[in-house]
Symmetry: C3
Subunit: 259 residues, 3 copies
């Protein structure tokens, strides 16, 4: 902090187990990656190379090195995992991860149907090689999961070896944890909070209103994901009560509006 | 201009008293700041380090130096002023401004209630140290101000020492000067124009439609604010009638569509 | 590709005649231009300096050189053509193009009315100096063109010398090819596909949903335009079936969901 103020919530420090910020990189150049980290590196814990972008971008090894050197955990988006699995190429996925020295990987079933037993088996297999994050929720609203199934999936995936479970929202923030208009699915989220260790859950929250909603509910050190690189500093001010939306969240009783 | 065309409105030149563009910086890196200025420096008059970002970003002194060297006025967002005031730390705010050599500051009451007499007193106090911009309008629509109160606040804040008064719209452009759908509150804006020196007013206009609306109403040299760094060049083309939306705005009668 | 996967559609290679990606540059700095190309240069065929930005930005020659050196075709936005024409300065336009060594130019009538015979004549004239792209559709929905007029305009403009014809959508993607809500005007698009060589058509598709819609309809090597620089990598994953939205588009029958 460039100046000390009282009543600023204490933030966890890197390497964090809670208060995580997971950023989605959709194709930054090497220099843009350096720029991003020069400002927001201390506030960024993980970077997901979104969906299949890792297959397409040039200079992948150099990019991963920049993130690694800055102490940022990197992994490829879950859609890439699914792109290998739908082609019956799980072994190739392991080779791809090894070739690029990946230490983390995401398991998801957002774009294709995978029987949950099979998904758990993928988590077990991958956990032998890398640290696994697994995502719950689909990218389509054709067959929504019931709240109790969400909770069950999160718990069994953690038991199968996932380091964290991620609540799906897409990049748009209009599905899974949220209703179509982007507002939070309160009953689902309450069920998760009641039944799953919240330090183990990363909430995809791409839009400011969603970040505000989770910070108001769970405090400065909530885990959020799918954050755009340019939004990390803004998110940090929300976490600290330094933006209008969370201005009163961390102030003591006697400074609240109606006192 | 890279080529001379007739019927391009004459723009004011730096240092401008009207035709101001105020940009909101939410956390650019040093290199991104240089990049932004290398393109849009001549068209940018002021940069606000939005809300509490100045407390959070690294390299604050270096960033301020880049802006100062380019002849850009810088100040910290009004929410930061309020974050000090709600904690009864106005003296600390003065120290913070002095420590970073700030020559401008914003006074606002968008996130907290400040009796207007008290706000005027803050403007008077701060004016002794720095040049003050003050913002009128709240970030919440719980208790909207009447049009006549807006006008009264703007006039008295200018009398108390504000260099310019800013009409609130948030970063989203959906409050204060605008209705919830982002369209302009015409009767409020008419009242302000009729009663306040418009060179003294900066209209927050984060969205293109709002920039177009004000340029059509008040011409190329209207003061606008909360512009995103990447939008400054686009705004400049709107000011000059070089984009579809303002294509006919500055053309003479005989070149208008129905002639 | 950083790893070989089966069932990835084959993409055309530069210099492409189909599968084109046309990007809109609204004022990137020189370094941002380099950054953009370092990631997405191979996937970018043309860059339009949007509307009148070419008149306003500094370092225009240097920017054009960066694009040229990377094998990217550049041209100035159609609104600039119209800004010269409305002022009866077509000769000056030729001088401006020559002064900056432009090899491509856009002819459009989105902001002003030009009798179609006259537009064809501009295409013929300009074709003697540069390669012409012409745009069909207006920026206003006051007088929408009928589907048959769209088709007729596209055919006659190609006959008059246009290298490609562009379907208008604006930067917002809410007009011309699309309804006001951004969804595709299916009957218009069907009429164009049936009657015009689709390799000759560039579809403005600024929003992700629109890019997905055209890729699903016309495949990986559809020509799309008005793409934001930061979206080119994401577009490329959509073209290759490496993002959720087009995940199944290029997979064989036996890998489809209901098999």
């Amino acid at each position: 902090m460039n100046y000390d103020l009282p009543f600023i919530p204490e933030r966890s420090e890197k390497p964090r187990e809670s208060g995580l910020t997971m950023v989605m990189d959709k194709g930054l150049s090497l220099r843009e990656t350096e720029d991003f980290l020069s400002v927001a590196g201390d506030y960024t814990d993980m970077v997901k190379l979104g969906f299949g972008t890792s297959l397409v971008i040039p200079h992948l090894k150099e990019k991963l090195k920049i993130y690694n050197d800055a102490g940022i955990k990197t992994y490829f988006g879950g859609t890439l995992f699914e792109a290998f699995v739908i082609r019956n190429r799980f072994d190739d996925l392991l080779k791809y991860l090894a070739e690029f020295g990946m230490k983390y990987a995401e398991v998801s079933d957002g774009s294709m149907f995978i029987p949950h037993d099979e998904k758990l088996e993928y988590i077990r297999q991958l956990s032998k090689e890398v640290t696994v994050l697994s995502e719950v929720g689909t990218k389509s609203d054709d067959i929504p999961l019931s709240d109790s199934v969400w909770v069950d999936y999160m718990k069994t995936e953690l038991e199968a070896g996932s380091w964290k479970v991620i609540g799906e929202a897409r990049e748009s923030g209009t599905i899974g944890l949220y209703h179509k208009d982007g507002s939070a699915n309160r009953s689902l989220i309450d069920d998760i909070i009641t039944n799953v260790d919240i330090d183990k859950v990363i909430w995809e929250a791409p839009n400011k209103g969603q970040q505000v909603w989770f910070i108001k509910l769970l405090g400065a050190n909530v885990n959020v994901g799918n954050i755009a690189p340019l939004d990390v500093i803004s998110l940090e001010t929300l976490r600290l009560g330094l933006r209008g939306d969370t201005f009163y969240r961390f102030l003591p009783e006697d400074l609240q509006p109606n006192n």
